[in-house]
Amino acid sequence: MKNWYKILSVILILYTLVWGMLAPVPRLDILNETIRNVFYHVPIWFSMLFMMTVSLFYSIKTLQTNSLLHDSKALDAAIVGFFFSIPGITTGSIWAKYTWGTWWTFQDPKLNGVAISILIYTAYFILRSSVDDEQKRAKISAVYNVFAFVMMNVFIMILPRLTDSLHPGNGGNPAFAKYDMDNGMRMVFYPAVIGWILFSYWIFNVKNRISILKNKLND
C-alpha cells in the first residue's frame, strides 16, 4: 500500500469539510460562527509552510549533490507551496472582512509577512527564468531558496510574536491558547492539518512526475 497517504488525505479532508460545518463550536464575541474557518484557513497555511520546507530540503540536497532531479523537486515544491498561499490569503481575507471589518490591513505583521513571502518566492521564480544553463540555474536558485526560506521564517514566525498583532498566538501569546479551541474543535482541527499536508504532498508528487516526463520529452 504505497498510496495509503492519498486515501487518508481524502478521508480526512472530507471528514473535516463536513464535520467542520456541523460540529458544535464555542460561541465567542465577534468570531461567532466564523471560528469554523480555523479548520480551513490555518491548515492551508500549514501545508504551504510544509511545501516550502520540502523545497528547502531539496534545495540543500541540490547543493550537496548537484543533481538536476533534486532541483526540479525543489522548484515543484515551491510552486505547490506558492499556489497554496492563494487560498490561504483568500480565506484569510474573507475571514478578516467579517471579524476585523476589512479585507486587508497593514497593521498586522503576519499579513505583511505573507505578502513579503509571496514576493520572495516570485523573485525566486524570476531568478530561475533568467538563467539558461541548467546546472548553473540549479545552484544559484538553491542558494537563493535557502536564504529566502530563512528570511520568510523570520518574517512570519519571529517578528509577529514581538509586535502587536490581530492574529491570535502573536504579540507574545502562546500559539493556541487564544484560539479558545475546545476539545470538539481539536478533533476537527488536527485531522484537517494532517489531511491538507498529505494532500499538498500528493499534489507535489503529481507535479513532479509531470515535470520529469516533460524533461524526458525535451531531451
Partner: protein
Amino acid sequence: MFLALIKKEFLLEFRQKSTLGGVMVYLAGTIFVSALCFKGRMDKPTWNALFWVITLFTSVTISGKSFLKEAGGQGLFNYLHYPARHFIIAKIAYNMAFMFVLSLITFFFYALFIKNEVENMSLFFVVLLLASTGLAGILSLMSAISARANGNFAMMSILSFPVVMPLIMVIIRVSKQAVDGIEWAAIGFDFIIILIALNVLTLALSFLLFPYLWRD
C-alpha cells in the same frame, strides 16, 4: 591574504571613482529633492522612514556593483588565487565599512538640508552600524547571485528588496526609539537583540552559501 583582499577592494573603488561619485550625486540629489518636496513639514515617523528608504537604495546601489566587477579574466584570477570564504568575508567587510561611512554622510546631509530629529545620538549610531553590517551581509550574497545570473541592477533589486524587508522593519523599529529620544535605560532591548541575531544569521548564511556560487 585577507587584508590584501580588502585593500584590493578599496584600491579598485578609489581608482575608478565612478561608483563613489555616482552614489554621492545620487545622495545629494535625493536629499535635495526630498527637502524641496517636504519643505520641513515632516514628523518623526516620516523622517525616520524616509532616511531608511534613502539608505536602502544607496546600499543596494553600491553593493549591487560589488560582484559585477568579478566577471571574465579578473574573476578567474580571483577564483584561482583566493579561497571562497576569504573572498566573501572581504567583500562583506568592505561593503560594511563603505555603507557605514555612506550612511554617516547621508545622515550629515539629511540633517543639514532637512533637519536633525534624532534625540538619542549614541543609539542612532549603534543602529547605523548594525544596519550596515546586516545590509552588507545580505546584499553581498544577493549581488553574487545576480552577477552569476548575468543580472543587471533590476535583477539585484528584485532579489534583494523582499529578503531585506525583515531586517529593514527591525531597523526602523529600533531607529524610531533613537529618534524619539528614549533613554538607554528605558529602551526595549527585544528589538536590538533581534537585530543583532539577524546580523549573525545573515552573516552565517552568506558565509555558508557563498562557496556554492563561487565554484562554477
